[in-house]
């Protein structure tokens, strides 16, 4: 039965997922070429100094990709699940509704995780060729909040889709937007070095939020 649910989720997101994987590969290649060109034109040291002195981020194109991925996967997964009250179908299956929702969320999280790993490994991988270890580490720390924002975007989309009431949808949207703003507050590298753990905990709390709107739907809330 669990496999069947995974199968259903995969059917919904497969094209979006593949498109996102391709887009990610594209983005990495783009950033890599950008860096290559910059190194070619201004020399390696100048580029290094941009990072060390100006705290520039050579990978700023990466910024919103995880969030877009999260929201896109969320939409492709949950809109078909929810439109025309289709959530009734999932909730009438002989599987605990909470298990159903968690399994759906697991699929989405995994899909996003794969995309983010691809992006991160690609970015850090070619960074190691061009930059010294300290800069590669700072790149990793700096993209982490954007990756968290990706997960938040996904789970917020799920919450909002599942919630029957318009008012609460707006509340979830506003609050999640606010939190994502916090994750995007960084304008130069390494700013989240000391606090990323705390932001990570709040992001993890989002994992639990998917059940409540589902419960409200189940009992007939408007």
């Amino acid at each position: 039965m669990i496999k069947a649910i995974f199968y259903k989720e995969w059917l919904k997101i497969r094209w979006a997922f593949i498109a996102l994987v391709l887009a990610s590969i594209f983005a990495i290649i783009y950033i890599c070429l950008d860096v290559r060109q910059s190194f070619e034109m201004s020399g390696a040291l100048r580029n290094w100094l941009q990072v060390v002195l100006r705290k520039n981020m050579y990978y700023s194109a990466f910024r919103y990709i995880p969030a877009v991925s999260g929201i896109v996967i969320g939409i492709f997964q949950f809109v078909p699940e929810v439109s025309k009250k289709r959530l009734r179908l999932a909730f009438h299956l002989p599987v605990d509704e909470r298990k159903s929702l968690f399994l759906m969320e697991l699929v989405g999280i995994t899909a996003n995780l794969i995309v983010y790993l691809l992006l991160a490994i690609g970015l850090l991988g070619f960074s190691r060729m061009y930059f010294p270890a300290e800069i590669v580490n700072s790149t990793f720390i700096t993209i982490l909040p954007w990756i968290l924002a990706g997960f938040v975007g996904y789970m917020a989309t799920a919450m909002i889709a599942l919630e029957p009431s318009l008012l609460l949808r707006i509340v979830y949207a506003v609050v999640s937007y606010g939190f994502m703003q916090l994750l995007y507050a960084g304008t130069f590298l390494n700013q989240f070095q000391h606090s990323i753990g705390k932001y990570g905990i709040v992001t993890a709390i989002y994992l639990l939020t998917v059940l409540f709107p589902g419960y409200r739907f189940r009992r007939g809330a408007k």
């Binding site: 069947a4 002989p94 007939g220």
Partner: protein, 295 residues
């Protein structure tokens, strides 16, 4: 005869607006029940509660022993639902959806599904969202039949279907139900279809249940009488048994549970002049409107 569905003192309000109060009815095993009611009389509310997607304000609705809004997965497997609009996972195709559902039900009868679906001559790769309303309804029904549930709840099976599909649907369903002693609870806005099929009728009125009875019994005891009278607008009935009246010129039509003799007594007691008192037979639809009123 065991009760598959039992509603006890069911009350529901939307905020302060009362839909109905202390409603009681039961659905016995092996019979086909039809729920009739005008829009806004609580039909949707009732079906939502029965399907387990609305928690009643108070009272209990027991389905196969479990409260409807808290059905355990095991009980859910014994209930087949047809959702309004024949809603399914229409991002799947014919094959995928059967494959998906089959994993959840150990007693899955694949043949029932394909028997019905193949009559439509639709390729198995066809995505359901690209099918017509009628074809989609067959997929939905096929899935329910394959699930082989004890109880089926059908929320307006006729919506969007033309006559041919409605008939196909009903024929298949009744065949199946009689053969395997299944229980069905259904609603439809096309009453003449239901008439051919249901065993029992549950009729809802304003804030309460008007009637629960076997169809035959209802049609036998509810009468339509028509007579001529000079001043029909002056006649009013307070009697319990008289449900509605209609006046056209100097003809009055009375819908009532009273027998002919009883009605004649009432008319005489009121001193009403009348002639040509005759009973007219009714279809279920006409009886329904006669019971609930045109407006």
């Amino acid at each position: 005869m065991e009760n598959v569905i039992e509603c006890i003192n069911l009350t529901h309000k939307y905020g302060n607006k009362l839909v109905y109060e202390n409603m009681n009815f039961t659905v016995q095993k092996g019979r086909i029940f039809g729920l009739l009611g005008k829009n806004g009389m609580g039909k949707t509310t009732s079906i939502n509660i029965l399907m387990g997607f609305l928690r009643p304000t108070s009272g209990r609705c027991m389905i196969l022993g479990d409260e409807s809004h808290k059905l355990t997965p095991r009980v859910r497997a014994r209930i087949g639902l047809l959702h309004e609009g024949h809603v399914t996972y229409d991002f799947m195709n014919v094959t995928q959806i059967e494959k998906f559902y089959s994993r959840f039900f150990p007693n899955w009868k694949k043949e029932f599904y394909y028997d019905l679906v193949d009559r439509m001559h639709v390729p198995h790769q066809q995505v359901i969202s690209h099918m017509s309303c009628g074809q989609r309804s067959q997929v939905a029904l096929g899935l329910i039949l394959a699930q082989n549930p004890e109880l089926m709840i059908l929320d307006d099976y006729s919506m969007g279907l033309d006559a041919g599909y409605r008939m196909l649907f009903m024929d298949f369903l009744t065949d199946y139900v009689r053969a395997y002693n299944k229980t069905v609870f259904m609603t439809s806005h096309i009453i003449q279809d239901m008439e051919k099929v249901i065993d029992d009728a549950i009729i809802m009125g304003y804030q309460k249940l008007l009637l629960q009875a076997p169809l035959k019994e209802f049609m036998r005891t509810f009468h339509r009488y028509i007579f001529e009278t000079p001043y029909p607008e002056k006649i009013t009935f307070q009697e319990e048994g008289v449900k509605n009246t209609e006046v056209i010129r100097n003809h009055m039509t009375v819908y009532t549970f009273c027998e002919r003799a009883e009605l004649e007594n009432i008319l005489s007691a009121k001193g009403v002049e009348y002639k040509d008192l005759a009973e007219e037979s009714m279809t279920l639809e006409e009886a329904f409107i006669g019971l609930t009123g045109k407006y």
